[in-house]
């Protein structure tokens, strides 16, 4: 690929790093107590990005299907942990559920796009597979955490209403239906909102990246449309799956609401 963009030197990146000093100055002046967190976040971001840069370089050179799938699986694993860590409550199989949902939604949709829509050859070409999977994962993660959180909070908050329904003869689906739909809607809202304002208020990161890298804006737009539909489909699939799995755990086949299976997570953990 020919590139028409300016390669950044380490000095230039260092200059940008100075921008974070703005945040630190504000934090110190207003005593927000965020300086330390900002520092940690900045360092983490730099280290993580440098690391993934190295890994991707290696992966691009290797061009092996197993290596690409392996990196994809690690990304799925991290995303499924991160999705759970953004919620307030837990139940026993929650990480497992999140993994199943993230994995199936992202692999199925990215796979279909690579093979059926973009028709990349070979399908595992890391130049396409990894960035597409990454973008799908980032959004599936948000959908899953929002949907799951809404469902669990709903079970805890509306326990009385749900049990009243069950006590009046509702099936478990009748008792859960309102909450499952609301949870799905909550999980899908960010995607719908993003599509509504895309190109008007926001210029999406991938499109911007392609344009910076020298692609014609019209070509970049096409990619953006494809990726947005991939994101929408994967988010819907992943959120649906994680909510249905949580439903099966918290509404027992004996038509009992098992809110006793829910517990608050012990301390405010850091998100991955």
């Amino acid at each position: 690929m020919t590139s028409h963009y300016l390669n950044l030197s380490l000095w230039q990146v260092g200059g940008a790093t100075a921008l974070i000093l703005t945040n630190m100055a504000i934090s110190v002046a207003l005593r927000l107590g965020l300086a330390r967190t900002l520092l940690i976040a900045s360092v983490r971001m730099i280290v993580q990005l440098l690391l993934i840069g190295v890994i991707l370089q290696y992966l691009f050179a290797l061009e092996h299907p197993l290596a690409v799938t392996g990196v994809g699986l690690v990304m799925v694993l991290l995303a499924s942990f991160a999705a759970v860590n953004r919620t307030q409550r837990r139940f026993r199989d929650i990480y497992w559920h999140s993994f199943i949902a993230v994995f199936s939604a992202s692999f199925v949709v990215t796979g279909l796009a690579l093979l059926g829509i973009l028709q990349v050859k070979p399908w595992f070409n890391p130049q396409y597979a990894i960035p597409l999977l990454g973008m799908v994962l980032g959004n599936v993660l948000t959908g899953i955490s929002l949907g799951l959180d809404h469902f669990m909070e709903g079970v805890a908050r509306e326990r009385g209403l749900i049990e009243t329904q069950l006590a009046l003869g509702a099936t478990r689906w009748e008792a859960a239906h309102g909450l499952t739909s609301a949870s799905l809607r909550t999980g899908l809202i960010p995607t719908v909102n993003a599509m509504m304002v895309m190109g008007v208020v926001s210029l999406p990161g991938m499109m911007t990246g392609q344009i910076l890298a020298g692609a014609a804006p019209a070509a970049a737009v096409r990619y953006q449309i494809v990726i947005m539909f991939m994101i929408a489909a994967a988010t819907a699939l992943g959120t649906l799956m994680v909510v249905m799995l949580a439903y099966r755990t918290l509404f027992s086949p004996n038509l009992q609401l098992r809110s006793d299976r829910l517990y608050k997570r012990e301390k405010a953990g850091k998100s991955v």
Binding site: E158, L166, A170, T171, N254, L255, Q256
Partner: protein
């Protein structure tokens, strides 16, 4: 001639929570035409007993029989439509009282029944509540009023058995008597009806119930249960 099976029967029922036996080897019968009082100190598991009887709580050992048959999964919704449990603090959906009363009729198990506003008004009249009450927002109801709505909601569904958890706990003296007379009229209006009634008021149990069972915690691990005939 054989006795008809009790409407609801529990045998050898045990309940353990966090390793503690709340009660064990519990026997209970609700025969047609009976009002049975359930008493016992706070924390003895009275609420838990009613919840367990309708299968809202998992139970350890024992059997629950509905008209002589063990309750089985495919019939669970029909069982709960026939044996209705009313929690002490009722939950009502958002919207008007009328919407709350009509909502359960949307459930598939009640599809053969229709919500009847005149019937609801009749029950409310027995409780000396005005018809305008039907249009009130459920969010604005007091705890006692919500209990009345919950009772009427259950009665409209025409169950055989009501399991009532202190249904008059938030009501004043006059209202308590009105609920009691509605309940005993309801019981005697048809032969195939019964109720169980948790109360802390021995006089109320005496007024309302033909017999009563007491759940009492003697020690941490053992539980006694005695049936007292009138």
């Amino acid at each position: 001639m054989t006795q008809p099976a009790p409407l609801l029967e529990a045998t050898d029922l045990s309940c353990t929570i966090a390793g503690r036996n709340v009660w064990q080897d519990l026997h209970l019968q609700l025969n047609a035409g009976e009002g049975v009082g359930v008493t016992g100190p706070s924390g003895s598991g009275k609420t838990l007993l009613l919840r367990t009887l309708v299968g809202l709580n998992p139970w350890g050992e024992g059997k629950i029989l509905w008209r002589g048959e063990p309750i089985a999964l495919p019939k669970l919704t029909a069982f709960r439509a026939d044996i209705i449990y009313l929690p002490q603090r009722p939950s009502l959906p958002d919207g008007s009282v009328e919407t709350a009363l009509a909502a359960p009729f949307e459930l598939s198990i009640h599809r053969d029944k229709r919500f009847s506003r005149p019937e609801a008004l009749e029950y409310l009249k027995a409780l000396a509540v005005e018809g305008a009450f039907l249009d009130q927002d459920t969010a604005s109801l007091s705890g006692g009023e919500a209990q009345l709505v919950s009772l009427v909601r259950a009665m409209l569904l025409k169950p055989s058995v009501l399991l009532l958890d202190e249904p008059t706990a938030s009501l004043d003296g006059t209202r308590v008597r009105q609920v009691e007379s509605l309940l005993s009229n309801w019981l005697h209006a048809k032969p195939e009806r019964a109720f169980a009634y948790i109360s802390h008021d021995p006089e109320q149990i005496e007024r309302l119930c033909s017999r009563h069972i007491r759940i009492g915690t003697q020690t941490e691990t053992s539980t006694t249960l005695e049936a007292i005939s009138p």
